[in-house]
Each structure stands twice: as C-alpha cells, then as structure tokens.
Symmetry: C2
Subunit: 323 residues, 2 copies
C-alpha cells in the first residue's frame, strides 16, 4: 500500500519550538515540542529538533512518508533559508537554518516568517483555498502580514516582503515607541500590546468609570480588555474601536497597493470578532478609492488558532511542490 | 525577408490620443495622434483611431508586422479590457475598449492604466530590464503607480492594483481635498498640483521673500517652482523638500508591503532630480525597518518622458507574449 505523504511543520518561537506531521488535508498526525531557550548553539538545537521529529515519526508508524520540512520563525528569510537578526531568539546574526537542517535530511527545507506561513496555510488548508490574491494579517503580541499575489507568496527582492506591522500611521508626530527602534508603527496600535497602550491613553483622558482601572499595565492583557468590552465597559470598547480603525486605515493602503480579493485576520485580537472587525471594515471602506469600495472581503482566518503555526509552516512544503 | 515585428502603443488622454509603432528595442517607427475630445461616441472614436493607425502603418511600409495593440488609459482595467468611470474622458460608465477594438482586429488588445503601462515599459525597454521586483511611480498632474512582482505586473483581484496616489497620509485630519472625493490622499501632496498647494501653504506661513509671491495660484506650475528652486528660492526649495518627504514616507509603506529591488520615479516632478530624490530617499530610509535600510534603490525612470506613454502602452504587447 502507498504510504501517506506528510509535511513536517515547525514553528520556532522565542520560548518553545513546536512541530507536527501534517497531511495534505491539514490533519495533524503527531506533534511534539522542545524548549528553544535550552539551546545556545543553533547546531545543537537543530540536531535535537531533528532527533525529536524522527522519534515522533517513528511513533506514528511506517505508514507515512515525509516529503519536506516547513519552518516558520521570526525574521525567517524564504529566499535564503536563514533567520536574520531575530531579536527574540537565542541565536544572533544570520543563522543558515535550512543549510543546518540539510545536514540531517535531503528533503526540501523551507524557512519563512510566521505571517507568511499563516498566509500559505490559509491558501492550502483554510479560507483562501480558491483565492489567487489575498493578504493575511496576524494579530498577536505584534502584527505580521503575508501577501499572496497570483497564487504565490510574495517574497520580495530581499525575501522580506510583508511587514505592514512596521509601516507608520502618520508622518513624524507619533509618541509610541516601537520594538523595532522607530516610532508610531502600526504594530504599536494594532496588536495585543497596542490595544493595551490605547486603553491606557483613553483611561487617562476619559472620566468614565471602567472595571479595568483597578489593573496595572503589567496585569492588563487583551483577554481582560476583551472580556470587559463584552460586558459593555465603555473604555474597553473604545480601545477596540480605535484599534480597529487604525487597522482599517492601513488596510486601505494594502488594497490600494495590491487590490486583493480578501484580507484575513488571524490571531488573538481577531477572536474579538465584531469589536475589531466592525471598526476595521468601516474605516477601511472610508479610506478606499471608489473603485475598491465594497469589493474587498475582511474575513476571520479559518485556521484554528491552536495549530495554525504548525499548519502554516507545513503548508510551505505543499505549496512549493512542483505540480 | 522576414518582416519586422512591431507593437502598437496607444495612449488615451483626456485631450489627445497618441499612438506609435514600436519595435522590440523600443524604437518608434511611426506615430500620430487624434483629438479624444472630438468623439462623443466611443465606437466612432475606436473606428477613427484604428483607421488612422492603419494609415500610419501603410506609410511605414510593408516591412512590418503588427503583433498586437497595447492601450494605456485612465482607469484602464487589465482584467476586463475596459475603461471604468474615467472622470477625464468623454465616455461615461464602463467602456468595453478591447472588445470594440477587436471588431477591427484579431490581434491581442491589452488595456491598462498609464502607470501600469509605464511599469511594464520600464521592464521591457528601460532601467528594470534585469529586475523581477520593482515599482514605478508616475508623477504628473496626479500620482500613479505600477507594481511588478516576480517579473509580472500586479493586476489584483479586480484589475485595479497600484493606486498608491490614493492612500492617505494620515488618519482623518487632513484638509486637502482630493479629486477622488476624499481628503489627504498622497496625490494631494505629491504631484505637480500637490507641489503648488504645498508652496502656497508655506508662503502663507513664512515671512521669507520669494520670487513666486508675484504669481497667482492659476499662474503657478511645477516648472516655475522648479526654476525658482534652482535659483535658490527658499520657499520653492522648502516646497520640494516637503513634497519629497511625503513621497518618501509612503514609499516606505511600498517597501514594507512588497520589498522591491528598486522604485523608479517617472514624469515631470522626477525631472527636478535631487530636489525631489534627496528628501524622498532620506525620509523613506528614516521610515524603513532595519532589514530594508540601504537596500532599496530609488531611481529615475530610463524611459524618455516624451514617448513614455506610447512606449509603456506598446510594452504590454511584448510582455504578454507567450515565450
């Protein structure tokens, strides 16, 4: 009997690295993880990871055949198979990840960032199966984006396309420091942290009561703000509205640049549904040229948040397969 | 002897329609024009245009073979071969231009907007011959843009990709009316008209003398401001600096979205060279994430301004040819 083809999806995060064996339909047949932080040497990390993947594969049994490895990692460069200057990882400089992996395997190894992996995942397993032109925005601690044009992920000349999280909201006059060293990037407004920062500003300006006034900045998180907003908390709702509007404002730019069929929102903030989708949609439409108005869908991702990183990473393998 | 293959490039403007016979190297073998404004009926316009093209072809002689027609027009839609709601043309609504043309010829007829045509022209005949990922910005009365990704013009889902002229400089608080009906679009700052508007604002705020204070708004144009700036006029120079900065600010978004190898500036304002390139480059770099800094070239178009529209339109034919 023919063996079942599987792609190994690997998500390298600052704390944990998670991997899974995924079939063409997006079923995860086996998964495991290891602590990224335990490995100061990337060669040792890759060896340990590969070993653990083989052990998991062995447990699944000999009915499967690995066809490749897809890796999502911060600052993953798809052109070069490298991770470059990723602030949140233990390894500094330019890490030749695909090359290190290929010391253990001759299968294809594809590296990209999490948001690009999410975009390909949406196309292979999710809501963009029949789409040729779409964008995925990932809303987590930061804001990532992946562009698909004419059925292909956009890499760009240097392999770093899709960083709308680091476009500025306005010229010059923002006070919000960004982790990237500049000021006023979209990510400082539209992300779990951005939502919290906006909440604090509204709380400072407004006299309205709020159940969130009893929490410190450190204690606050997107979930608490979401819960408060669902209970009707005025300040929490306004923080979501402002966050959605800033997102919608820059999504209008995305539309004017590449005219996608749909924009998918993925991740924690997207789970707040109407609280974020409504102001985002409204403000995007308001900022669109008439030829685009009413045409671009703003949709929730159809990848489950729980497995999305592994699914997205594994999808790179299917999408890069010669057809 | 084999006939020389030529593409017919047609540029439909609000006042004149210009066409030319162009060979693969970008040589124009013959050209002519007719008044767009003379034709209330688009069918009559197309018939007259086709007739005039045939006459010109006849004059060139029988050593040539037409392989197709490329048309640049405002609001030209490449997916559908239509012109849609172009404010500056005599024909309202959706005009099925390619279809009308194909009543006269069985050769391919490709329609797109001027900026997209300029982008393909840069790739076929100009400075982007060896590039796979670049963007062309056309600076005239308005601001247009064309994106090339992976060697192909980006059409978008609805055929209208590349309208960065109508992305907003900041959320909500701009006073500048745009021809598109909204406010604060990039085009209201970065275009011949935008330069003039900026000049007036600086003139209003500043007490500095300027040779331009003697001209009315109607009398002023980009050329007068350029000449004054070259002579060291403080206010004219500041108007250019502000215009370049606003351009650079939004070019940083272009880089963060699609990570091109180069951005080409084309048209009247681009002829002001350092006056516009220096502040644009400086402000673009200032607004770039570190992974992009110093990597993206900002270059003048290599198409001659005089023939660019016809060259760009003709290039569509070569680029759409099965290879």
């Amino acid at each position: 009997m023919a063996k079942k083809e599987v792609a190994v999806g690997i998500d390298i995060g600052g704390t944990n690295t998670v991997f899974g064996f995924v079939d063409r339909d997006g079923n995860i047949l086996g998964e495991d993880s290891l602590k990224t932080t335990h490995y100061d040497e990337v060669e040792v990390f890759v060896a340990a990871l590969y070993e653990k993947i083989m052990v998991t594969g062995h447990k699944i049994g000999n009915g499967i055949e690995i066809i490749g490895f897809g890796i999502g990692a911060p600052m993953g460069n798809i052109n070069k198979g490298t991770i470059e200057h990723a602030a949140g990882l233990p390894w500094k400089g330019i890490v030749p990840l695909a090359e290190l992996f290929n010391r253990h395997t001759s299968h294809p190894v594809i590296v990209t960032n999490d948001a690009n992996a999410a975009a390909v995942g949406e196309m292979i397993y999710g809501g963009a199966k029949d789409m040729r032109n779409f964008v995925v925005i990932t809303l987590g601690t930061g804001l990532g984006s992946g562009f698909v044009i004419d059925g292909k992920l956009v890499y760009g000349h240097d392999g770093f396309a899709g960083e709308i999280g680091h476009t500025a909201i306005r010229p010059g006059d923002s006070n919000r420091d960004c982790g990237c060293g500049r000021k006023g990037c979209l990510e400082t407004y539209v992300s779990a942290t951005g939502l919290k920062r906006t909440l604090l500003k509204i709380m400072a300006d407004s006299m309205q009561p709020s159940e969130l006034r009893k929490f410190s900045f450190d204690e606050l998180d997107a979930e608490k703000i979401h819960d408060a907003a669902k209970r009707g908390d005025y300040i929490a709702k306004r923080a979501f509205t402002h966050t959605g509007r800033m997102l919608g404002f820059k999504l209008a730019d995305v539309v004017a640049h590449t005219n996608p069929e749909a924009i998918f929102l993925f991740g924690g903030l997207a789970l707040a549904k109407d609280l974020i989708f409504e102001p985002a949609k409204e403000y995007m439409e308001e900022n669109l040229l008439s030829i685009y108005k009413g045409k671009v869908k703003l949709l929730p991702s159809e990848l489950s948040t729980q497995n999305a990183a592994v699914l997205g990473a594994s999808s790179l393998v299917w999408s890069n397969r010669p057809s």
